[in-house]
C-alpha cells in the first residue's frame, strides 16, 4: 500500500523539486528535493531585490558580473540537485556562499574597506550554519577550514587590509566553526546510527517478509489494536486480573473477532484456506474462524497479554470450501508493536492428518490390546518392546517382566530340533514372513502349541526396525488334531479289519460253496447215477442258486477291495482264450439251462496281450452273469473278444434278452442299483454290485464302457481297453 514510488499525479511544485528517478535511497531523494526547493525559493528571494537595486541604481560591470555569476552558480547547483548527483549541487551552493563574502569585498571594495570589512566577512558565519544543513557532516570541517583559510589569506591578497582588521571576526568564525564541527560530528554520529538502524530495519523487514511469504507454514499478520484497547480498559477496571475476568465473562470478548484486521497472509495460508487471493480471505474471515476458533482467539489474547509467545492452541478452522481442519494456532507480537498490538503474527499448523492418524493409531492400539491373539513387538535383536494383555494371559508373564527380555530366553521350549530354530531365524532375518506352529514355554514351565506369524515393521526408508509376532494358542486344536489322527488311524485299522474279515468270510464261504456246486454238477452230469426228470430239475435249481451265491460272495470281496482302494492292477501277458476258459461253471450251467452261449475270439488279436487277467476275468464274469440273469431260456448270449483298432481291443457280451430302458442306462453302473419296478424283478434278484464293479475296474484300466440296449431286443455291453501286445520272450 505504501509501496508505490511513483505517484501518478504530481503537482507543478513537486514536479520541479522531485529528485532524479535513478536515486533510490529515500534520504538522498529527500535531500535532493529539499536542496532544489531551497535553491528555487532562494533564487528569487535573494537575487530579485539585488538585481532591481543594481538596475535602478548604477549598474557597474562588476555588479552585474557579481549577480550573474551568482545566478549561474545557483542555477548550476539546481541542475545538479535534479541530477543523479545532488551532492554536487550542495557543494556548489556552499562554495558560492562561501566565496560570496570575499567576492563582495572585491566587487564593493569601497563599501567594505577598512574596518568595515567585518560587515562582509561576518556573513561566513550563517554560511557555515547553512552548510550544516546541506553538507554531509563529515565534510563540514572542510568548509570551516576553508573559511578560516580565506581569513588568513585575504589580507595578503587585498591591499590595505590588515590581519588585525580580519582577526576580530576570525575569532568569532573559529569559535562558531568549532561549534559547527562539533555539532556536525554529533549529527554525523546520529545520522550514521540512524542509517545503520534503518538499514538494519530494512534488512530485517525484508528478511521477515521473505520468511513470512516463503514459509511453508500458514502465517497471518493481523492488527489486534482494538483488542489491546479493550484489554487495557479491562485492566484498569479489574486490576489486571485479565485472565480470570475474560475466562469468566464470555461476553467480554463479544465482537473481538470482527475487530481483528487481517493485514497480510502468506501463500501457504492462501493455499490452506483455499482462497484465491488475500482480499477474498480478508472478506471471508467469518467462515474460517469457527465458534471453536473464537475460543482459541480468546485464549491466545490472554496469553499475549501475559507475555506468552507462540503458545500452541488447538482448534478447528474451516477452509473457504467448508472443509474442517484441525489446526494449532500460535500468536506472537511483532517486535516493536508490543504496546499497540498493531502487528500480531499468527501461525497456523495443519494437524488434521496427524489427528486422523492418531485416531487410527488409537483404534489399532485398542484392537491390539483387546486381541485374543497374543501380540509381541520386538526390536531386531528379539528384545521385547511390547506385549498385549493376551500374551500375559496365555504365558503367565506380566508385561513388566518381559519388556527388554529376549523372546527366546523366556519362551523357547527346545522341543524342536536346533535346525528348526535356525531356519526360523534365518527367514526372519532375511525379512520374510514366517508362519508356522511352535511349541513354546509358559512362565510356569508348561509347554503349549502356538500358531505363529512373525513379520517385520519397516520405516519410511524401507529399513526394518521391529518385528511383530502374532501368536495363537493352538494347544487345544493340536490335542484335537492328535485325537482325530488317532481316531482316523483306528478307523483305518477297523476298516482294514472289516475288509480282512470280508475277505476271510468270502474265502471260507467259497470253499464249501464250491464243493456244493461241484457235487451238484456231478449229480446233474449223471456221474453217480442217471437222474429222473424231477431229480435233474432239483439239482439244476441247487446249482443255479449256489452259483448266484458264489457270484454274490465274489462281488462282495471285490467291492470290499475297491472300497479300501486295495485293488492294484498287475498287468502281465496272457492268452485271450484263457479269459473265456477261466469263466466258472456258470457257462456250462447256463448252457444246461437252454441258453445258447457263443464265444468268439478275433484271430486278429495278438497271441498274448498285456493286462490283469484276474480282474479282466471278473469283468467278463460279471457281464456274463448280468446277461444270463436278464435273458430268458432259449435266448442267445455272445461273448466276443476282438481287436478294435491298433491301440484298443474290446470285451463284448451281448444278449437278446429284455434290454435296459433308456432312463435306466445311466444308473445301472452305480452300486446296489437295478432297474426297479420291473414286473420280473422277483425273478432277477441280485446284489446289484456286478455292473458297478465292472465300471470301476474299467476306469482303473483306462477303459471305456459302451452300452447299446433296446427294451425287448437285448443289450450289448462293450468294454474298450488299451491294447498292449506282449513282447515275445
Amino acid at each position: 500500500m505504501s509501496t508505490d514510488k511513483n505517484t501518478p499525479q504530481l503537482n507543478f511544485w513537486q514536479r520541479i523539486t522531485s529528485a532524479h528517478p535513478s536515486i533510490e535511497s529515500a534520504t538522498e531523494r529527500r535531500f535532493a528535493s529539499v536542496l532544489s526547493m531551497l535553491l528555487l525559493a532562494f533564487l528569487p528571494l535573494y537575487f530579485l531585490p539585488e538585481s532591481i537595486r543594481a538596475i535602478l541604481e548604477k549598474h557597474s560591470l562588476p555588479d552585474i558580473l557579481y549577480l550573474g555569476s551568482g545566478v549561474l552558480f545557483l542555477t548550476v547547483a539546481y541542475v545538479f540537485s535534479r541530477s543523479p548527483y545532488p551532492r554536487w549541487g550542495s557543494r556548489i551552493t556552499i562554495l558560492y556562499f562561501s566565496l560570496l563574502p570575499f567576492a563582495a569585498l572585491f566587487v564593493k571594495a569601497e563599501r567594505y574597506a577598512g574596518d568595515n570589512v567585518n560587515e562582509a566577512l561576518i556573513w561566513t558565519i550563517p554560511v557555515m550554519l547553512l552548510a550544516l544543513t546541506i553538507v554531509p557532516p563529515k565534510q563540514i570541517k572542510f568548509v570551516v577550514f576553508a573559511h578560516i583559510g580565506f581569513y588568513l589569506i585575504i589580507p595578503a591578497l587585498w591591499d590595505g587590509l590588515t590581519h588585525r582588521q580580519v582577526f576580530s571576526t576570525l575569532w568569532l568564525v573559529i569559535a562558531v566553526g568549532g561549534l559547527v564541527i562539533i555539532s556536525a560530528y554529533v549529527q554525523g554520529r546520529y545520522l550514521e546510527q540512524a542509517r545503520r538502524e534503518a538499514k538494519q530495519n530494512k534488512i530485517s523487514e525484508r528478511r521477515f517478509r521473505e520468511i513470512f511469504l516463503g514459509s511453508p507454514v500458514a502465517l497471518w499478520e493481523a492488527d489486534f489494536s482494538q483488542i489491546k484497547i479493550r484489554l487495557d480498559s479491562f485492566a484498569e477496571k479489574y486490576d489486571n486480573e485479565i485472565r480470570s475476568y475474560i475466562l469468566q465473562n464470555p461476553e467480554a470478548m463479544v465482537g473481538a473477532g470482527s475487530s481483528v484486521v487481517l493485514l497480510d497472509a502468506n501463500n501457504a495460508a492462501l493455499d490452506f484456506y483455499e482462497a484465491e487471493d488475500i482480499e477474498i480471505l480478508k472478506k471471508s474471515l467469518h467462515v474460517v474462524v469457527s465458534p471453536d476458533a473464537m475460543l482459541a482467539l480468546r485464549d491466545g489474547v490472554v496469553e499475549l497479554w501475559e507475555g506468552e509467545k507462540n503458545k500452541p492452541i488447538e482448534t478447528i478452522h474451516k477452509t473457504l470450501t467448508g472443509k474442517e481442519r484441525n489446526v494449532i494456532v500460535r500468536f506472537s507480537l511483532r517486535a516493536g508493536y508490543e504496546d499497540t498490538w498493531e502487528r500480531v503474527n499468527i501461525s497456523i499448523d495443519d494437524v488434521t492428518e496427524q489427528r486422523k492418524a492418531e485416531v487410527s493409531i488409537r483404534q489399532l492400539a485398542s484392537a491390539v490390546e483387546a486381541s485374543a491373539s497374543s501380540i509381541l513387538i520386538t526390536d531386531l535383536d528379539g528384545r521385547i518392546e511390547y506385549v498385549n494383555p493376551a500374551f500375559s494371559l496365555i504365558t503367565g508373564y506380566g508385561e513388566e517382566e518381559v519388556i527388554g527380555q529376549k523372546v527366546e530366553d523366556i519362551q523357547k521350549s527346545g522341543e524342536h530340533p536346533e535346525e528348526f530354530y535356525e531356519t526360523l531365524n534365518h527367514i526372519i532375518e532375511s525379512g520374510q514372513v514366517w508362519k508356522g506352529e511352535v511349541v513354546n514355554r509358559r512362565k510356569d514351565g508348561s509347554l503349549y502349541w502356538e500358531s505363529l506369524v512373525i513379520s517385520s515393521v519397516k520405516n519410511d526408508d524401507g529399513e526394518r526396525t521391529h518385528r511383530v509376532q502374532i501368536k495363537e494358542d493352538i494347544t487345544r486344536r493340536k490335542e484335537l488334531e492328535q485325537a482325530l489322527a488317532l481316531a482316523h488311524e483306528e478307523a483305518l485299522v477297523a476298516s482294514d479289519m472289516k475288509t480282512q474279515l470280508l475277505a476271510n468270510v468270502s474265502h471260507d464261504m467259497r470253499t464249501p460253496l464250491g464243493a456244493i456246486l461241484g457235487y451238484t454238477e456231478m449229480l446233474d452230469a449223471g456221474v453217480f447215477a442217471p437222474l429222473n426228470a424231477k431229480q435233474a430239475e432239483a439239482t439244476r435249481a441247487i446249482a443255479v442258486n449256489t452259483q448266484k451265491l458264489l457270484d454274490f460272495v465274489s462281488n462282495l470281496l471285490s467291492q470290499a477291495q475297491i472300497d479300501t482302494g486295495k485293488i492294484i492292477l498287475n498287468p502281465a501277458a496272457f492268452v485271450p482264450q484263457h479269459l473265456v476258459d477261466a469263466l466258472g461253471g456258470e457257462l456250462s450251467l447256463a448252457r444246461t439251462q437252454g441258453l445258447s452261449i457263443e464265444t468268439i475270439i478275433d484271430p486278429k488279436l495278438p497271441e498274448k496281450i498285456m493286462g490283469d487277467s484276474y480282474w479282466l476275468g471278473q469283468i467278463l464274469h460279471n457281464l456274463l452273469s448280468n446277461a444270463i440273469k436278464f435273458t430268458p431260456q432259449e435266448g442267445e448270449i455272445k461273448i466276443n473278444l476282438f481287436k478294435d483298432n491298433d491301440i484298443s481291443w474290446a470285451l463284448q457280451v451281448s444278449d437278446n434278452g429284455k434290454g435296459i430302458p433308456q432312463e435306466a442306462q445311466e444308473y445301472i453302473f452305480e452300486s446296489f442299483r437295478q432297474v426297479d419296478g420291473s414286473p420280473t424283478r422277483q425273478a432277477h434278484t441280485g446284489s446289484g454290485l456286478g455292473l458297478s464293479i465292472v465300471s470301476h475296474l474299467c476306469r482303473l484300466m483306462n477303459g471305456e464302457i459302451k452300452l447299446e440296449s433296446e427294451e425287448g431286443k437285448g443289450s450289448i455291453f462293450t468294454i474298450f481297453l488299451p491294447l498292449y501286445e506282449a513282447e515275445e520272450r
Partner: protein
C-alpha cells in the same frame, strides 16, 4: 493210437470234497487219475511218474503248490506237463499265471474242469 497216449493225471489237493470233484471231472475227461493230499508226497511221486496233467492246489500242507509248480517247470522230464492251477487267492493266481497252462480260481466247477481237461487231452 489212443493207447500210446499218456493218460495219467495227478490231482494234488488236500480237501477231500475237492479231491472227489476234481478226480471225477478228470476221469470224465478220459484220464487215469491219481490223487495225493500232501505236498511232500506229491514231490516224491513226481520223481517216480510222468503224468500228462497235474491239477494242483496251491494251498497244501508240508510243501506248497507253487514249490511243486516250480519243481515241475525246473525238471526237464516234467517241464512239458500241463498244469491246471487251482487257488482261492487271486494274487497268487496272477503271480503263477505264466508258469501254468491254466489257472482256475476256486471254487472250480465240475463241468468247467471236465471240459477244460477234455480240451487239453485232445490238443496234447
Amino acid at each position: 493210437m489212443m493207447e500210446e497216449k499218456n493218460t495219467l493225471a495227478l490231482v494234488i489237493e488236500d480237501d477231500p470234497a475237492q479231491q472227489e470233484i476234481f478226480s471225477h471231472a478228470i476221469k470224465s475227461a478220459g484220464y487215469d487219475v491219481e490223487v495225493i493230499g500232501k505236498g511232500n508226497e506229491a514231490m516224491q511221486r513226481l520223481d517216480e511218474i510222468t503224468p500228462a496233467l497235474v491239477v494242483l492246489d496251491l494251498h497244501l500242507p508240508s510243501v506248497s503248490g507253487d514249490e511243486i509248480l516250480r519243481h515241475i517247470r525246473a525238471d526237464e522230464r516234467l517241464a512239458t506237463i500241463s498244469v491246471i492251477l487251482a487257488t482261492a487267492d487271486p494274487l497268487l493266481a496272477e503271480a503263477l499265471h505264466a508258469e501254468s497252462d491254466l489257472v482256475l480260481l476256486k471254487p472250480i466247477s465240475f463241468t468247467q474242469l471236465r471240459d477244460l481237461a477234455m480240451r487239453l487231452r485232445s490238443t496234447t
